[in-house]
């Protein structure tokens, strides 16, 4: 069978189960596909050289009628800031360019327990700090829809590899929009779960109180399938919620009455092509029992709050990179320790260094109340506002991004202008609510995503509505690769 790489996760699993093709067939095709096109996309940092062996072992089991896990056949691309045992994990940073973790992140372990195959590690902005996947030490990834354009970030490799059919699904991390932004720019589905629903154990921390690991895929069903494996309480992560031990999400075609709230400030601030698409999406969604209305959410302080907290936590999380327990070859003998640490750490990229420094600034004892504490209080206010809205409506809608994908290198100059493109996505991280980006259409062949957000722990509602939208929006295009 050819072009197995175009199949969805569900189709792969049933194809393997029905012996239409072997997992080895599938993995070989994926590896060939990666070989053919990844030069143009640069989604991958490392290919797992054990992938084929694992595939063969699974095929053997299937052949001898032995039981295999529910994800047998699925090939997952893992963002390179998620620890994979014995597979290099670099965070796209010189400081970790040779790091081979001695342990698996919980999400990786759970995938492996269900016999998913790790096909490789995918590109990101260094330490997940960025929205374009341009700032990693391996260089930028290129948008499968138009290689001169950015993929979005920081989980750019995760989105691009799924869009370019180089893997079935992928995992990314989302601190201020890092899954949803590239999902929107690459026309794939990307979910940031409720804070605490998916374990962060093994996710190289950037901002602990904001980030979550989440799945990216070509369909909503694929996302649900992965969530059922990775979500749920983990004793290794004290911030995971104990309401759900074993998730049982469904991807059904149930139609239910839904009240949508369109966040008017976010639509008004976006590119006209985008707002046009949002309104037509709302038309598609409307029916007898699905109505939409305009709502208002004042997020004036959201971006400042987000960057204050993210940079502060980052400055602390990245302190451990001193090249002693892991790192690159640089003999410490003879150096005075402060000087050694400082020389080593100057190998971080510019964006990372600036964020660490600003993070240090806002945590200085004289400034703590002014910045960090204030920013945390803003979160409480925002949460209060959002909760009020969820009494009025069930689902909040906005464009995922206020702008269309732009050319690589275009948005580099003004840092605040760069940060402003996160405006639509940061609210979900600040408040802890789940949010998904769905392919909504194109403008000049450049993808546009629609963002849906529900209240905390309302993932099932979010999945139901997403499936509804997916069925009426019918975005079935593939990039020309």
């Amino acid at each position: 069978m050819s072009k197995l790489f175009t199949l969805s996760a569900e189709q792969i699993i049933s194809g393997v189960r029905n012996r239409e093709f072997t997992i080895e067939d599938y993995v070989i095709q994926l590896l060939e596909r990666i070989n053919d096109i990844d030069d143009k996309i640069k989604a991958f940092i490392t290919i797992n050289d054990e992938a084929l062996n694992t595939a063969r072992k699974l095929d053997k089991k299937i052949k001898s009628q032995e039981a295999v896990g529910s994800l047998a056949g699925i090939a997952v691309g893992i963002k390179d800031n998620i620890c994979t045992k014995d597979i290099k994990t670099t965070c796209a940073s010189k400081l970790l360019q040779e790091y081979i973790p001695p342990y698996d992140a919980t999400v990786v372990r759970r995938l492996k327990e269900r016999d998913a195959i790790i096909i490789g590690k995918v590109n990101l902005d260094e330490f997940a700090m960025g929205s374009t996947t341009e700032f990693g030490s391996y260089g930028p990834s290129h948008n499968p829809w138009n290689p001169d354009y950015v993929v979005g970030g920081s989980s750019g490799g995760s989105a691009a590899s799924v869009a370019a059919l180089e893997c079935t699904v992928s995992l990314g991390s989302d601190t201020g929009g890092s899954i949803r932004c590239p999902a929107s720019f690459c026309s794939v589905v990307g979910l940031k779960p409720t804070y605490g629903l998916v374990s962060r154990f093994g996710l190289v921390s950037y901002s602990n109180s904001l980030e979550q690991i989440g799945p990216l895929g070509r369909t909503v069903s694929d996302i649900v399938m992965i969530m059922n494996v990775i979500a749920g309480f983990d004793e290794n992560d004290n911030t995971t919620r104990n309401e759900i031990k074993t998730p049982g999400f469904v991807a059904s075609d149930v139609k239910r009455p839904v009240r949508y709230g369109l966040i008017k400030e976010l639509v008004e601030a976006s590119d006209p092509a985008i707002s046009k698409l949002v309104y037509s999406s709302l038309d598609l969604l409307s029916s007898n029992d699905c109505k939409w209305e305009e709502v208002s959410l004042n997020s004036d302080y959201a971006l400042a709050s987000y960057y204050t907290i993210a940079m502060a936590e980052a400055s602390s999380n990245l302190a451990r990179y001193d090249n002693l327990r892991y790192g690159f070859d640089f003999d410490p003998e003879g150096y005075e320790w402060n000087s050694y640490f400082s020389k080593i750490r100057n190998n971080f990229g510019d964006e990372v260094k600036r964020r660490i420094m600003i993070g240090s600034h806002v945590l200085l004892s004289g400034y703590y109340a002014k910045y960090y504490l204030k920013a945390q209080k803003v979160r409480s206010i925002l949460r209060h506002e959002v909760k009020k809205l969820f009494k009025q409506v069930d689902v909040l809608i906005s464009p995922t991004m206020p702008v269309l994908p732009f050319k690589i290198g275009e948005n580099i100059d003004d840092p605040v202008k760069r940060y402003l493109i996160d405006t639509n996505t940061v609210v979900a991280n600040l408040v802890g609510t789940p949010a998904i980006s769905l392919p909504a259409g194109f403008s000049d062949n450049l993808p546009i995503g629609l963002q849906l957000m529900t209240d905390e722990m309302q993932e099932q509602l979010l999945f139901d509505v997403s499936k509804m939208y997916e069925s009426v929006a019918s975005i079935k295009r593939r990039p020309d690769l």
Binding site: R325, D331, K353, I358, Q376, V378, S380
Partner: protein, 91 residues
Amino acid sequence: MVTIEHVKHLAWLSRLDLTNDEIENYHIEIEKIIRYLDRLDSISLSDVEPRHYERRVSEFRDDIIYDDNQTDLSKTTKYSKEGYVKGPRMR
């Protein structure tokens, strides 16, 4: 005003051995960003409590040894001696 001196101090606090060029370039960007973050000054939130998550003591783990996941530092450490990790001098 975020001065160059302050930027140098932040670099020291963060243990970053910046070049003079880096200090100058970063200074401009950092000042812009901190100006932006200063908008947090324009709201007073003295009555607001930051959100926190809570757990009861019984929800934390038991005091039972588990040593199946011991880390072998020799696999990731570049310089070691007799099992110790080699580090720079303290003086």
